[in-house]
Amino acid sequence: MSTALHIDLLLQRPAFALQATLDLPAQGITVLWGASGSGKTSLLRCVAGLERGRGRVQVADTVWQDDATGTFTPLWQRRLGMVFQEASLFDHLSVRGNLHYGLQRLPHHEQAGAQQALQQAIEVLGIGQLLTRHPATLSGGERQRVAIARALAVQPHLLLLDEPLASLDSPRKREVLPWLEALRRHLQVPMLYVTHSAEEVAHLADTLVVLDQGQVRASGPVAQVLSSVDLPVHLGDDVGALVTGTVAGCDPAWGLCRLSLPGGELWVANTGESEGTPLRVRILARDVSITLERAQHTSIQNHLPCVVSQIAPPVGHQVLVRLDASGTHVLARLTARAADQLQLRVGMHVWAQIKAVSLVR
């Protein structure tokens, strides 16, 4: 994993302190995940230079801030794009005027390249037919897509997104999410994405950073972080593993597809994907139970042979157990009583019964 973004920041506020040291990869989407007040937006604003923390920020070979050498590049000289919660389009300009605002401020020799980048962003985000419209006539989802394209038009070395879907209602969210996924597939720009939504994490994250009370609680590849048992408890029902497999074949009679994983197979809903398509599924810890032997007469379709790899200390009267199915990690949430009765130990061979698997895509 090559390091593209190095962050080492300390922000001291009267009622709040943020401390983060992160080395993040050069590509894909890194999600900063946490509850409100966890410091994720402050961290993003410090990286952008909208707020001044103490420490160091480096993107690829460019140092944006280093208080050890007194370096601080002002925001407007940093090659970044930023998308805020509200689209914040300039309402005195047309959509095209908005898209060209940043581009016009680039050095002349970069404008041709930026034109191309903008053209690509317009295509990937599907806003070609909106160019002559006025921002006030756009829907919330369209506005946010224009804001993203506007940020991409300056050919940023880093794209920062601060809860870009939070001000949209659920249908609009589902409308914009696929565009963001397309962005990750088609563009090379690394993104730092702030959200509190587990759904957005499941859809978008390649790398996940979990923030809690101004501290980094976990960071790493998303599947690894989500299957760790020591995430902050406040995630509650959202605790669950993210598993990637490939479609191995479908059974139209039952409306199900077999998803092949390193550690076995899962039945998932048939959404018409062809064989060999990679699929991401989410398995919530509350939907996983443990049996010592493979259950024979049960309505539950999905069973995986696993080894208990970690048991977290009980929180309340519940225990979070991490199971390893030959490289696929899932979490199970049990009552403390059940864990005691099964006499669960690390290293034990058990079966995971999975009641529900939700498709991410």
Partner: protein, 234 residues
């Protein structure tokens, strides 16, 4: 009525006064926008503890009798006032009873009418548009002129219209600072006063009625422009 309107006496006194009034209001409005916008921006944004005192000072002309304002302006600009001594030192003489003096007086008098709409608009706008512009590579001054001011265009128009209309109707400050010198400092309001003093009610009616109609037309026009732009934005 028309015989009065067309009488050489009336025209000789009215036209210079009308021209001077429009000139004064125009120059004052222009200068007020140039000075008022940065002042309003500062008031809307600064965390400084000087914000409240400065804000109160800017609002003061709204509540003080114009004669009080005019009196102090006169003292300030007079041969013994600090401003008067400064202009004398520059070799300009004193500004009292001159057009320049009137402009300075009018700027102070109409200041709140220019600053308050702009300040409210900048405060409502919040820091976000400027932040967005800066993430797109605009320097702060560039962002102010290309984003903050255009976003506040309705407030800018309101500030201009109110300053202009308010300056047109000024009387107390003009009388104190400018006197009533025909062609130099005699504006419509002082001319009307002169006609009333001389019991020339017909002439006073013409001028006063004209001003009422003009002020109404301006405010009505402003309301229509606002309504149209709001409808377009929807």
């Amino acid at each position: 009525m028309t015989d009065i309107l067309l009488s050489p006496d009336f025209l000789a006194s009215a036209w210079p006064a009308i021209a001077l009034t429009l000139q004064l209001a125009g120059v004052t409005t222009l200068l007020l926008l140039v000075m008022g916008a940065p002042l309003a921006w500062w008031l809307a944004r600064t965390p400084s503890r000087w914000r409240e005192p400065v804000g109160a000072l800017v609002t003061l002309p709204l509540v003080l009798p114009p004669s009080v304002l005019g009196f102090y302006m006169l003292v300030l600009m007079g041969p013994h006032g600090p401003l008067g001594q400064f202009t004398q030192w520059l070799g300009w003489g004193t500004l009292s009873f001159t057009f320049t003096g009137l402009v300075i007086g009018s700027i102070v008098y109409s200041l709140p009418f220019a600053v308050q709409p702009l300040q409210a608009a900048f405060a409502e706008m919040g820091p976000r548009p400027m932040e967005v512009a800066m993430t797109l590579g605009a320097r702060p001054l560039d962002a102010f002129f290309t984003v903050a001011l255009p976003q506040a265009r309705h407030a800018l128009l309101t500030a201009a219209v109110l300053s202009f209309a308010h300056t047109l109707g000024e009387f107390g400050v003009v009388l104190m600072v400018g006197g009533n010198i025909p062609g130099q400092t005699r504006v419509l309001s002082t001319l009307i006063y002169g006609h009333v003093e001389a019991m020339e009610y017909a002439q006073a009616h013409l001028l006063a009625g004209g001003m009422v109609v003009f002020a109404f037309a301006v405010l009505m026009g402003l309301a229509l422009i606002r309504q149209r732009s709001q409808r377009r934005a929807r």
